[in-house]
Subunit: 143 residues, 2 copies
DNA sequence: CACATATTATTTGTATGCAAATAATATGTG
DNA sequence: CACATATTATTTGCATACAAATAATATGTG
């Protein structure tokens, strides 16, 4: 490999960085980061999940989940409640304040997604998503 | 956006994470991280660059460059020398130890790239690189 | 030349991310 | 039931990454 711009790790990193910056800018008015958004998103889908479930879904290390939850809890968007069936575990619940963010945050991130998609043709976008899914999420369904 | 798996930021992050882990594992025998590798790569192309040039090429913040250079310098792979034409600046030079890593590190990262490419057809790989470049590196040439 | 502005590198603070170690609790095997 | 093993969350340490502030030096304008 002669040029670093031919390295997939580098290219993916820079593409990710760009989209991450777009999302960060869009979310900043709510004081939320992209990672905090995706964690909230999983809770909007299903409230009261275990930390290990969130980490599995988001492909994040337990230590990372602990940190993100700490900050969301400090902001008053989620709370940890003891799991009566397993005393090792907390169940993570949205607060009303965390629930209220569902619509506005989805709105701004949808806009970012549309902006990204607009750079490609419909067919390209479909293929792009399929390739990213295959690469990043293993054999779990293509789109 | 109903599912977080339809969010481009999330998909790109997970794909990047996967390739980054592959590179990290491949480079670990040399005690080098993927980011340290790409910085060394730019120096192998042209020795004696300014920090700001490295940051511009790699799309990294000055503070990040300072940190990466600190660690590379501590490992004895690069050294900072004063720029006689501009006393604000250091010029970054490879040490012999840093130069020697060019072949072996390119070898292991080439292998990772081949592994990634092998997941796609030739045409898909070409399109994937083109789309990532367009997204992450702006209007600067598509492969 | 003097002074406002810009550039460069660094420092500090915050937020991911992972590895490894720890502590508490569950689970399985005898 | 007892004990080895596994699971879960957390803590600590390290490595990106960026924003904002700082310090030193260049550059441009008068």
């Amino acid at each position: 490999m002669d040029r670093i711009e031919d390295c997939y790790g580098f290219l993916l990193g820079k593409a990710y960085q760009k989209v991450w910056q777009m999302e960060k800018a869009a979310l900043s008015q709510y004081g939320i980061t992209p990672v905090q958004f995706v964690l909230l998103h999983v809770l909007w889908e299903k409230d009261g999940q275990k930390g290990v479930e969130l980490g599995s879904r988001l492909r994040l290390d337990g230590a990372t989940i602990t940190g993100v939850l700490d900050r969301l809890e400090k902001m008053g968007l989620i709370e940890r409640r003891p799991d009566l069936n397993d005393r090792r575990t907390n169940l993570i619940f949205l607060t009303p304040k965390g629930s209220e963010l569902e619509k506005p945050l989805n709105q701004v991130t949808d806009a970012v997604n549309k902006e990204v998609i607009s750079m490609f043709s419909e067919e390209e976008a479909k293929m792009f998503k399929s390739m990213l899914t295959k690469l990043g999420l293993g054999q779990k369904g293509h789109s």
